[in-house]
């Protein structure tokens, strides 16, 4: 596999999307191997800072998946994720992150095929976009590292 092998940090909510991902596994729905799943309680738990952190640490894409609107286990956490996604996308665009590298999807527990589809489609999109960056950690010479944002 000489081709560019992207890494997509994937945040799955515990109650819907993670279950869908498990179900996709049980049904042996073949997927691209680019995802790196992090389980969270709720898509509303995903701080936009995590998304930036992922990109800054070398991810080529970030996927956040949660329950469909109205189905949130925590009443409305997914709506918070939705609200954040718009402004976050604006920020990412301004900072030069291409559209398509960040996605927010609603994947219900019952939608394992959708999960596999989303993973494969996103892997393909990002393959086309190429690597985001392969930065090494910044070696800041400052002892006052925290001052400048480590």
């Amino acid at each position: 596999m000489s081709e560019f092998d992207s890494k997509i940090i994937t945040f799955l909510c515990n109650w819907c999307s993670y279950v869908a991902a498990d179900a996709a596994g049980v049904s042996r729905m073949t997927q691209k191997t680019n995802t790196r799943v992090i389980r969270v309680f709720c898509s509303g738990m995903v701080d936009p800072g995590y998304v930036i952190k992922a990109f800054a640490s070398g991810a080529d894409g970030v996927l956040v998946a949660g329950c469909h609107p109205g189905d949130c286990h925590y009443i409305s956490g997914n709506m918070k994720a939705l609200r954040r996604s718009f402004l976050l996308e604006r920020l990412l665009t301004e900072l030069g992150v291409e559209k398509g590298r960040f996605r927010l999807e609603w994947i219900a527990a019952s939608e394992s095929p959708k999960y596999a589809e989303v993973i494969n489609a996103m892997s393909e999109d990002i393959r086309r976009l190429g690597p985001f960056s392969t930065p090494s950690r910044v070696d800041e010479p400052s002892a006052a590292a925290s001052a400048s944002g480590q």
């Binding site: 918070k80 920020l91 301004e94 400052s142 002892a143 001052a147």
Partner: protein, 331 residues
């Protein structure tokens, strides 16, 4: 006891940080008893080369961002000569407003420096530029940071008190005890040096000292500062103004917000935050009132210039993505 040797220098920036040292008016005489200013081009007329002649400097206050080759050279020289390097002001600490040049897509090269040399042999050049504007902290290690644009008088004084210790307390120390991190306050009180890396600011965010009334955050519409809002009273963010006080290190005492002007983050982000832009995005958009994607999009469209606002003073250092990119282009 010999007096401490102090150097003061401004690279790319304005003179406000230096003025902020002069601003501690009533203490100037006391400072004068404590220190010997051995290098201060702006006020004393020291020449850049004078540094070479100095054996050592106890404390160097370095203000301004690193934009020119001279800025970098002076940063390195002063670092080598000084026991304690203090990044004074937002530019030295975080890159400051000059670093907004990095945002500019067209050119980060100085636009005024054009024109053909009339006599290339005789005429001198004004100096080389760095590829990107950086903070002092990105070029050499700084031991202490005094943030702010410009730093406030109590903090400058606190830093001087801490680094050029003099026994006895002072009314200005009261601030240190109430707002500065405990370690620093204790160090100052007992006359020992604060730990390296100390930032002369608070732990919390500006809201902690902002005098405005906070009720409920529910973001309906973006108000721009030229539009109508209450200049006194309720939290500006709650009124719809983008105010960065919620994610900005405190220490100023809520200076701007008290005047009815939203915070723009000149003290940099707070400790536990990874990227201030992402945090501002999260904090504001989480409280959006609209529910449907169309409405949310419409509200989002009211926001303009997120990067220029959220990273106004700290683009090269605190914008996580920029940090990596500028390093990359350097390679």
């Amino acid at each position: 006891m010999p007096k401490k040797k102090v150097a003061i220098y401004t690279a790319t920036g304005c003179r406000s940080c230096e003025t902020s040292i002069l601003d501690i008016h009533y203490q100037v005489q006391r400072l004068n008893r404590m220190v010997d200013v051995v290098f201060w081009p702006y006020v004393l007329g020291s020449q850049l080369d004078d540094v070479d002649a100095l054996d050592s400097i106890d404390v160097c206050f370095y203000a301004g961002a690193i934009r020119t080759e001279t800025d970098r050279r002076m940063a390195e020289k002063l670092r080598d000569t000084s026991r304690h390097m203090v990044a004074l002001g937002a530019c030295a600490a975080f890159g400051g407003m000059p670093a907004l040049a990095n945002l500019s897509v067209t050119d980060s090269a100085p636009q005024e420096a054009i024109g053909e040399p009339t006599d290339p042999v005789a005429a001198p050049t004004p100096g080389e530029f760095e590829p990107h504007v950086k903070s002092l902290t990105q070029v050499v290690p700084a031991d202490y940071v005094v943030p702010g644009c410009p730093p406030t008088q109590p903090l400058v004084w606190a830093a001087i008190q801490a680094l050029v210790p003099e026994a006895g307390s002072d009314s200005h120390l009261a601030f240190a005890f109430s707002r500065l991190p405990k370690l620093v306050a204790e160090a100052m009180a007992s006359g020992v040096l604060p730990p390296r890396g100390t930032i002369f600011g608070g732990d919390k965010a500006v809201c902690a000292s902002c005098s405005r009334v906070k009720e409920e955050k529910r973001f309906k519409t973006v108000l721009r500062p030229y539009q109508k809002y209450e200049a006194t009273g309720r939290c500006l963010l709650e009124q719809g103004l983008v105010c960065q006080g919620i994610a900005t290190r405190e220490g100023c005492g809520g200076l701007c917000t008290a005047e009815g002007i939203p915070c723009r983050g000149c003290f940099g982000k707070t400790e536990a935050v990874f990227d201030p832009g992402a945090k501002m995005v999260s904090a504001i958009s989480s409280t959006f009132e609209p529910e449907t994607p169309e409405e949310i999009q419409a509200l989002t469209d009211q926001f303009i210039d997120l990067t220029g606002t959220f990273y106004r003073y700290a683009f090269p250092t605190q914008c996580a993505l920029q940090r990596n990119r500028s390093i990359e282009t350097q390679k």
